[in-house]
Symmetry: C2
Subunit: 368 residues, 2 copies
Amino acid sequence: MKIICSKSKLLHGVNIVSKAVPSRTTMAILECILIDASTNEIKLTANDMELGIETKIEGEIIEKGIIALDAKIFSEIVRKLPDNDVVIETDSNFKTVITCEKAKFNIVGKSGEDFSYLPYIEKSDFITISQFTLKEVIRQTIFSIADNDTNKLMTGELFEINDNELKVVSLDGHRISIRKIELKESYDSKKVVVPGKTLNEISKILSGEVDEEVKMFFTKNHIVFEFDNTMVVSRLIEGEYFKIAQMLSSDYETKIKVNKKELLSCIDRATLLVKEGDKKPIIININDEIMELKINSFVGSMNEDIDISKEGKDILIGFNPKFLIDALRVIEDEEVTIYLVNPKAPCFIKDENEKYIYLILPVNFNAS
Amino acid sequence: MKIICSKSKLLHGVNIVSKAVPSRTTMAILECILIDASTNEIKLTANDMELGIETKIEGEIIEKGIIALDAKIFSEIVRKLPDNDVVIETDSNFKTVITCEKAKFNIVGKSGEDFSYLPYIEKSDFITISQFTLKEVIRQTIFSIADNDTNKLMTGELFEINDNELKVVSLDGHRISIRKIELKESYDSKKVVVPGKTLNEISKILSGEVDEEVKMFFTKNHIVFEFDNTMVVSRLIEGEYFKIAQMLSSDYETKIKVNKKELLSCIDRATLLVKEGDKKPIIININDEIMELKINSFVGSMNEDIDISKEGKDILIGFNPKFLIDALRVIEDEEVTIYLVNPKAPCFIKDENEKYIYLILPVNFNAS
């Protein structure tokens, strides 16, 4: 194989597919990036068997061929090359010479034939969404997936399509995050659970541009994201997702409106007294038009008042401050509305149209 | 005690003195920042017994007093307060209330009387230098102090003053870095060894402005840096510094001139094949007007040619690439001159006036 392409395009491609290189694996071939120039295109591929990424890069193919190169070393080399044309040449023993200007690297690759290709996906059923929207909706929900494998379904996010609405849901047993997106067209109903890892990696690759699009294809076991010159294939998580409808209620005893930034900075300040691991709740005392926030820890105590507008009863309730911070951080509204029932029932932070709903369970605390 | 000062000024002061708070200590009081408002000034102090920093901050003293507050918690609180006036109030039990707008923190401090004050220094003997120059000269030499305590003197830097010249030297047994600074005035001769930790911390505090000055005071056991509203007191390292004059020679067999940036990027590229720990040298082959750099490792090999201008013999010599990188990074010249004798003798990177001299010992390598 012998190919020539610019350092910048090569680096861009390598950075994209690197997201699917597993950090630890028993299969050495998976630690590689496959360079496939066996047809008329140069394709880079990485695949950890759950998540696979393939991207096409511009370049010239002098001699067709295919090679697998250690991802870490190859990407380090490309990163540090001068900003000029890069020549990659391999021989039948997988000896690879990478040349750029006067710099010449010799490394040994692996047979491209041993590489696990991406599964073949029948691309029939798809929806279209802007890169910006997909990136945003991931950011706005990904924090509330569970970070351990006890319940596999909790480590992914529900993507549910009905007519022209995409609903994304994540939950970890203590909270639920829901975002609804209006699509430009109507589609057949779909319901899949996408692994959190896939979503994390894909949001790093997405440009986030409003006018660039992503096509999402659905099959029984896979989801495929196609955008720019890149294709991301991910397994889905099997099983029936949690029935969240019954956890959402629109009854409330207290409804407050509060400046989001003010509330967020206050909780942020309060948490500095709490060391990781000691689960000190933030205690919220809603009394007339004032929300008093209070935290007590081994280090000291903090309290602060915030002006609010209120409908309904006064209430005293405790929360894990991190859960409030996570939700408030991803809400763009200047003012948020919080609905409360009683100190044992979940609170809801949601907008009027329910474009977003954040459900957070309260925690018990010692009222004294 | 009750004082009022702006959050920004308080934070600035806390950030400065925090540099002298030890990360680990058996004396809990040393983990504190002392707020001393017992006179007409507000002073913050931290002291790890080797290095002490005191800085004055503007503010209003409502009630005189003194308190020691845990540095980590206090600085976290100050950092997260709103940008407004901060009130710090203590009672006779060292209970401390920090208030800013509606936020109110309660923490418990320690008696300021238990704090170790900075040693009293007779400020007679001093030199003056710009903050920029001091910061630069530290950056240009600090990398070649030894990082372990086997030889205490190697963990510091020699500051030697003769007439209107300040010479700063660091060495670790494999290399020597020397910088010479012309001072505005002439001073009595002085020769002290300043701990590397002190220099590292002080260069973080220095503004680096060309037209702001630092006064450096010298006593038998201490050095004091005075600038802005801040005073840094450090113990000196005792003992006679190494006689470096005899290690410096102006004889050479080969003298080359090379573009610094080109050489640095080339070595930087080469080192990506070397994992930390495996001591692979970079092999430099000087042949006519070409410098060939070559590295061989378990991962692969790399070679690159650089055009140079040369006087004297050809030479084949090996170096620890990190040592070359460290020196080249802090040299501002576009072109550097390197003097070599033979593959066993040190090389010198220096300018014509010897404002800087970097001596680096070569390493053995397998020529095959």
